[in-house]
Symmetry: C2
Subunit: 200 residues, 2 copies
Amino acid sequence: MRTSHLLEQLMEALRCLPGVGPKSAQRMAFSLLQRNRQGGLQLADALSKAMTEIGHCRDCRTFTEEEVCAICSNPRRQESGEICVVETPADIVAVEATGQFSGRYFVLMGHLSPLDGIGPSDIGLDTLEFRLQNEQISELILATNPTVEGEATAHYIAELCSEYSIPASRIAHGVPVGGELELVDGTTLSHSLAGRQKLY
Amino acid sequence: MRTSHLLEQLMEALRCLPGVGPKSAQRMAFSLLQRNRQGGLQLADALSKAMTEIGHCRDCRTFTEEEVCAICSNPRRQESGEICVVETPADIVAVEATGQFSGRYFVLMGHLSPLDGIGPSDIGLDTLEFRLQNEQISELILATNPTVEGEATAHYIAELCSEYSIPASRIAHGVPVGGELELVDGTTLSHSLAGRQKLY
């Protein structure tokens, strides 16, 4: 027998978070009630604002509450004319963290998956094609995941680029830096050999 | 450079949950935005209701939005006259899960800790003393944690009981069921030996 209906509702609602099961939900609910009600209220406020106000950037389709996101609207990011195509907004965070890319992005919000009924227009390729036609793009860097679907999506987009004579490139697959050769799987090592670069 | 201010606020707010660091917060925020906005809104609603409306039960001090919680107000739970004293509301859930206890509870919301300035009135012992004086209590079962502070708290409450001639008992400490003797620590094994029970 539980002592509070609202507490049960809270525990149930917390389970919509990824990786949170019944035990973690209970721990979270009790922790907020006992030690941090103010933080709980702030979280409620941030959640409802984010869920209702955050939409997608008109140009790159990433999450933003503006019409055009901060990266797309920054004139400095338009100079190089490079566009990096990624699968999710989280991938933008990862690429930004390297500090090596100063162009703009395009977020597919998924990958081509005909078996699941996800076709080109579902991952915004009509929007991308419009940009290919109307923008000065120097290079399209395809940074989709190195999975079967990610590769297929990358090749599909590369063909789209060839129609508009825009250079397309794929990020390198190979042995991770700091990794050990004997621990790397065979497919990665094959990619690593095939993609070898001349030193002199 | 982040693309959304509200998204950053949400990630920051999610970190008030126990065990959620920057990476998990990012994963949770993106997961809700991409796949479950409805769930996110429900969570916001459940959080704000719980944080503002849940208080403490007048009798047992557990979390509830009513004046008296469902367990305390249930006449069947008053029959045995037993009261189980626990440190947190989560301990009630654990004891209820055993299905072995049909009495009522008293939640200390902590334990005696003179070094941290936590005295008897901070853990509601004045309320408990009032109940010892005014209710028909057949036994007080002390189920505080088997820590130094938990033991001290149990002994303090046991002395309080002796003043009102109410029987007090302490839950057994010993080898956990399914555990192996050689893997159990020395203190637990000592308790287990000292608390041995006659078989015939």
